[in-house]
């Protein structure tokens, strides 16, 4: 077994044993079920006489759009919180020094972490999306399978970008808290660029708004966002590896 698979297996088992896998799955599941449920019963929660503005009647597309929109915020926070200690935590505790004194490449060390985190968040996305789709169908009707799938995949790519950025910062610094702070600021800034003219067609932050447009079955397809996001994911992994390779433990 190559060192990558040994490390990947260890990472994934670590996520299972420390309940991070279950917590992320549960979070996305609750969130997937809750979004259409909240929209459906918003009228009941806020009586018409109490509402300052009128609450419109929501559709299946609204439920999916709302789910994707929330994914861009809650998913970002979850990704940062779960991934910020991935490398920095090991450096801080000293486990990295023992592991990396064995015949293990630092690239494998980082990619195995990102791989295991991606599997966790991928599984959580599937569970959350399944919950959201099911409740949307039950409460609002069919939102359109292909649009829902594409919107979810774009959301998943955005989460992968958030994880890659956080793992990169985690390999730059020794403190998980500093890695989390840097990642959060960077990702919020990138999300902010999604509304800027010119940049919005290239920024990974626009993945979420693109996914929302797909959910609403409208809007342009900014393919450059896809290409730039994939390129940036590769770039931040390479940057994390290069910096970590030069880091003394």
């Amino acid at each position: 077994m190559s060192s990558f698979f040994v490390l990947f297996k260890k990472e994934f088992r670590g996520q299972l044993k420390t309940y991070r896998f279950l917590i992320v799955i549960a979070l996305f599941f609750v969130f997937g079920l809750g979004t259409p449920l909240l929209l459906k019963y918003l009228h009941a929660l806020i009586p018409a006489e109490d509402a300052v503005i009128g609450i419109p009647e929501f559709t299946a597309a609204d439920a999916v759009q709302s789910y994707i929109s929330s994914l861009g915020q809650l998913g970002l926070v979850a990704a940062v919180l779960v991934a910020m200690g991935s490398v920095a935590g090991e450096r801080e505790s000293g486990t990295a020094a023992i592991t990396l004194s064995k015949p293990v490449g630092r690239g494998s060390f980082i990619v195995a972490k990102l791989g295991a985190l991606s599997v966790t968040f991928g599984a959580a996305m599937i569970v959350g999306a399944a919950g959201c789709y099911l409740y949307t169908v039950v409460l609002f009707g069919n939102p359109g399978g292909s649009n829902f799938l594409i919107a979810s995949l774009l959301g998943a790519l955005y989460l992968l970008f958030c994880l890659a950025v956080t793992v990169m910062y985690s390999s730059f610094v020794k403190s998980p808290l500093a890695a989390g702070g840097l990642s959060f600021v960077t990702l919020v800034a990138i999300a902010g660029t999604a509304g800027l003219p010119g940049i919005k067609y290239y920024s990974p932050g626009a993945l979420v708004s693109w996914a929302e447009d797909v959910a609403m079955a409208g809007g342009p397809n900014p393919w450059w966002v896809l290409a730039v996001s994939i390129a940036l994911i590769i770039l931040v992994i390479v940057a994390g590896w290069r910096v970590f390779k030069a880091t003394e433990l």
Binding site: S3, V6, R13, A97, I98, L100, S101, K102, P103, R106
Partner: protein, 313 residues
């Protein structure tokens, strides 16, 4: 070919010089004790030898290979125990050793066999199925030693291997290290427990402020650097005798201590020949009841204090 060697090894952390032109040659199948006060550069040297840190300048060779960062070939030949070994707390002791065996690409059968041997060796067989988070500091230290031995390394680097162990645990670990040396392993251990170093090391190196003060065999070092010491035990207090000794020009220092009914003196001298003649004569004339008298070489601790203690600002 030496098992470990280095030339001009220097390491700077900003303006701090952690290692200053270190040169060492350690032969195969010896236990080398690396001594020095806190912050002397011991851990820095260990990290460079294991490829976890890079020198600012200079070169090092371990197990026939030049040390370069992240050399998998080198890392497969060595074992390393950091000063405070850290583990994945959610793993059990056996799971951790299995993980380490997999990193060395050992077969499942070899890993199982080796885990059993190592757990037995470090006396953790009964606790192998417990999570590492529940281990005491001594148990973690022993697990650390076990993981360092997983690949049957030719060269073993241990940073303070006995620091967290109780006296019995220390004896067991030291005996294990001696057995490993007999099995053709070269051991490089840093320690501040000088009695341990004195007990098992063939060669010692003393480092202070990044510079190697001395590298020598333990016996040779004691002969070379220390003034001979005479131990005298009386069956009653001997304060006046201590005063008499302290007034003599050939006596360098007298340490006196009462232990139960015994009064023990440790006399360092400048002139051994004179002391050999004069001390028995003075004892005979003192009227004190002599329990024991012998000339001993100083301990490694005394050598260490002489070499390093005198250099303090």
């Amino acid at each position: 070919m030496p098992a470990i060697s280095c030339q001009g090894l220097t390491k700077h952390y900003g303006s701090v010089v952690a290692l200053d032109n270190l040169a060492l040659t350690i032969e195969d199948k010896v236990i080398f004790g690396f001594l020095g006060p806190n912050g002397a550069g011991k851990t820095t040297a260990l990290k460079i030898f294991t490829g976890l840190s890079r020198p600012t300048s200079g070169r090092a060779w371990v197990a026939g290979e030049e040390v370069v960062s992240h050399s998998r070939s080198l890392q497969s030949k060595i074992g390393y125990l950091p000063e405070e070994p850290a583990f994945y707390n959610w793993m059990t002791g056996r799971e951790y050793l299995t993980f380490v065996g997999q990193l060395f690409s050992l077969s499942s059968r070899d890993i199982k066999k080796r885990c059993g041997e190592l757990l037995e060796l470090v006396d953790l067989s009964r606790d192998a199925s417990r999570r590492v988070s529940s281990y005491s500091r001594g148990m973690r230290q022993r697990l650390g030693i076990a993981q360092a031995l997983m690949n049957k390394p030719g060269v073993l680097f241990l940073d303070e291997p006995c620091s967290a162990l109780d006296p019995l645990g220390r004896v067991e670990v030291l005996d294990t290290l001696v057995r490993l040396k007999e099995q053709a392993t070269t051991i490089f251990m840093s320690s501040h427990i000088l009695a341990d170093v004195e007990r098992i090391c063939d060669v010692v190196g003393i480092i202070d402020r990044g510079r190697l003060v001395v590298e020598s065999g333990v016996e040779e070092l004691r002969q070379r650097f220390a003034h001979p010491v005479f131990e005298i035990e009386f069956e009653e207090p001997a304060a006046s005798f201590v005063g008499l000794l302290e007034s003599l020009s050939w006596v360098e220092k007298v340490n006196a201590a009462a232990e139960g009914n015994l009064f023990k003196l440790r006399v360092s001298v400048r002139d051994v020949a004179t002391a050999k003649v004069e001390i028995p004569r003075l004892i005979a004339g003192s009227g004190l009841t002599l329990r024991q008298y012998q000339m001993v070489l100083p301990t490694l601790e005394e050598v260490f204090i002489e070499l390093v203690g005198n250099r303090k600002d």
